[in-house]
């Protein structure tokens, strides 16, 4: 059995089934990110693992122990909440000591542990302050410090960076990562920010409407999305989609052109063809192309996003280098071809990858 194991977990609030059978295996020392649109059940999953809500069905194991019916305090986990949940009446030091006191650790050991953790996070000068006297970033560090000082079996994070500004978010992200590499703590991390997920995760779990849509490495979900939902959710700017129909000889006809080499396609099958803006490369003469009118272009730096519209009125985007951007932004039309092997095809009805 894996280090953490969720087996057929369901959760109902009243009559509404929020989680519809979640199976998840997490290895020791792994950093797992739960990713998905708002309301898909990420926080609920985390709260079930923490024991803050009872499951409606299924079992949860942590380190070979069935914790399904245990209280949060019996599960040996630490959690960092979105709003940090620092105890407002206690100093930083008391905040960090609070969990160790519950374990009846001797006061001198608590002091040592807290000071070591504070040193590691660079918050020693803050130890005597109250949470109200800290900036958002400092509160965040204290919350993380309070979690690591306990050395729990499992770390749970619920969108811990969402209240920070963009720059601090990126900094803290790498800090959490290096902390993870140093401590090797098994972690479940919830976010709806796909960039956070891609950069941090050993394993990404994409949730949708109370179910796991896909789980795998960041490469897996980015390069081989199993469904239209995952393909549209991962990647920025979002993937371009075109409707198409299968032909008898394994080709797909779309309004932007015909794509060949899909023997598994049935004639008349309705599909969606997806291609990432980064996988559209400026076409040479004589290639199969997607052509569009240039509407707008945004320079990001080295790269630029070109917004286009086909002659049938379908909008799509392409990401190009800035030299190409210079020619394209003043051009009327631009033609692209799809990078080899980077075309994704999904069945329109089931949404599944073909």
């Amino acid at each position: 059995m894996s280090y953490v194991s969720l087996q057929s977990i369901t959760k109902k609030f009243g009559d509404v089934e929020i989680l519809k059978g979640v199976d998840l295996e997490i290895e020791h020392h792994q950093f797992t990110v739960l990713l998905g649109p708002s309301g898909c059940g990420k926080s609920t999953t985390l709260r079930l693992v923490a024991g803050l809500e009872p499951v409606s069905g299924g079992k949860i194991f942590i380190d070979e122990r069935d914790v399904t019916d245990l209280e949060p305090r019996e599960r040996d986990i630490a959690m960092v909440f979105q709003n940090y949940a620092l105890y407002p009446t206690m100093t930083v030091e008391q905040n960090m000591s609070f969990g160790l006191k519950a374990q009846n650790m001797p006061a001198s050991d608590i002091r040592t542990a807290v000071h070591n953790a504070a040193e590691l996070l660079g918050i020693t000068p803050l130890l005597a302050r109250k949470p109200g006297e800290l900036s958002g970033g400092q509160q965040q560090r204290v919350a993380i410090g309070r979690a690591i000082v306990r050395q729990p079996k499992l770390f749970l994070f619920d969108e811990p960076l969402s209240n920070l500004d963009a720059k601090l978010r990126v900094e803290t992200r790498s800090e959490i990562l290096s902390l993870h590499q140093r401590l090797g703590a098994t972690t479940i991390y919830v976010t709806h920010d796909q960039e956070e997920a891609m950069t941090m995760a050993d394993k990404i779990v994409i949730m949708n409407q109370g179910q796991i849509e896909q789980q795998g490495t960041p490469e897996d979900v980015f390069f081989r999305p199993v469904s239209r939902m995952v393909a549209g959710f991962i990647g920025s700017p979002v993937m371009n989609f075109f409707n198409g129909v299968g032909t008898a000889n394994g080709a797909i006809e779309t309004q932007v052109g015909t794509f060949e080499g899909f023997p598994q396609i049935r004639a008349g099958q309705k599909v969606e063809v997806g291609v990432r803006p980064d996988d559209l490369i400026p076409a040479e003469k004589g290639e199969t192309t997607i052509t569009g009118k240039v509407l707008l272009s945004e320079l990001l730096g080295v790269r630029a996003i070109i917004h286009l519209k086909t002659q049938h009125g379908l909008a799509f985007k392409a990401v190009v280098d800035h030299e190409i951007y210079r020619d394209m932004k003043s051009a009327d039309e631009a033609s692209f071809t799809v990078r080899d092997g980077r075309l994704h095809v999904f069945d329109s009805e089931s949404g599944k990858r073909i």
Binding site: R47, A50, G51, L52, E71, P72, R73, R75, I77, A78, M79, F81, Q82, N83, A85, Y87, P88, T89, F98, G99, A102, Q103, R146, R150
Partner: protein
């Protein structure tokens, strides 16, 4: 909103406040004057010039039962508040965290809607059979009937403002829900508890209705004593004025400390939309 930037508006505002203060403070000034008025001028409210005397103060403080009545009032108010907080804190916390029908919290005000005249007879009968008429415990019990709901209502709003994740954090940190409640949540609402306590104290301290009917001799509280200066021979205005001032002073002092929490507390658990 309009601004007080123009000179004339400021003068108008000044006068408005002055008039309001005059209206509010006049009774206090008048009662104070009555308390130092010699008996020979008693019953003549329109006399403003007289040689001041300390007779009334001496009499009330040294020769009457009023000091004992003050003590009774303190015992009743303190006990009522202590019990009301002991009951009200967990109750308010439960109402605050309750996820079901949000109108439920208003039910605690139901007792408050009933006119005390309806409750007093059952109270009297029950206490009579328990042989607790004219006992402080009886008054305390009666006061709890309106102080507990008010204190609870008052506290719900303060608990509502403490995020649930705070107790969740404590539970993950190794504590039971009850430990989380008293180690983390209660300290976080301390200002609210203080304000609710003061509010409940004043309610009990000022009560005349229940105390008048449930106490007689030994257990008379201060408001009952004040009323006692109104006899069939007339009102003993000078002594009554002294007792009134003594009754009002703690209320004024306490109100000053909680004023900033008062509005929030009275808004209480009104569900925010």
């Amino acid at each position: 909103m309009f601004s007080f930037s123009s000179r004339s508006a400021r003068i108008a505002a000044f006068f408005a406040i002055a008039v309001a203060l005059l209206i509010v403070l006049f009774p206090f000034v008048w009662v104070f004057l009555e308390s130092i008025k010699p008996a020979s001028f008693g019953g003549k409210p329109d006399v403003w010039l007289f040689p001041p005397t300390s007779d009334n103060w001496n009499n009330v403080l040294l020769q009457s039962d009023v000091p004992a009545n003050i003590l009774n009032s303190f015992v009743v108010a303190f006990s009522t508040v202590a019990i009301a907080l002991l009951v009200g804190c967990p109750a308010a916390y439960a109402f605050s965290r309750f996820r079901g029908y949000q109108g439920a919290r208003y039910s605690i005000l139901a007792a408050e809607m009933m006119p005390p005249a309806i409750l007093i007879l059952p109270f009297f009968l029950v206490l009579y059979h328990l042989q607790m008429i004219d006992s402080l415990a009886g008054v305390i019990a009666a006061h709890l009937s309106f102080v507990v709901p008010v204190v609870t209502w008052f506290l719900i709003g303060f608990f509502d403002e403490v995020p649930r994740d705070l107790e969740n954090q404590a539970m993950v940190d190794g504590y039971t829900r009850f430990q989380a409640f008293y180690k983390v949540i209660l300290p976080a609402v301390r200002p609210g508890i203080g304000a609710a306590g003061v509010f409940g104290f004043v309610l009990s301290w000022n009560d005349l209705f229940y105390a008048l009917l449930l106490t007689g001799g030994e257990s008379r509280t201060l408001p009952v004593a004040i009323a006692g200066y109104w006899t069939f021979r007339g009102v003993d205005m000078g002594k009554m004025a002294v007792a009134i001032l003594i009754a009002v002073i703690p209320v004024l002092i306490l109100s000053f400390f909680i004023q900033k929490h008062l509005v929030r507390g009275i808004g209480g658990g009104a569900v925010k939309y």
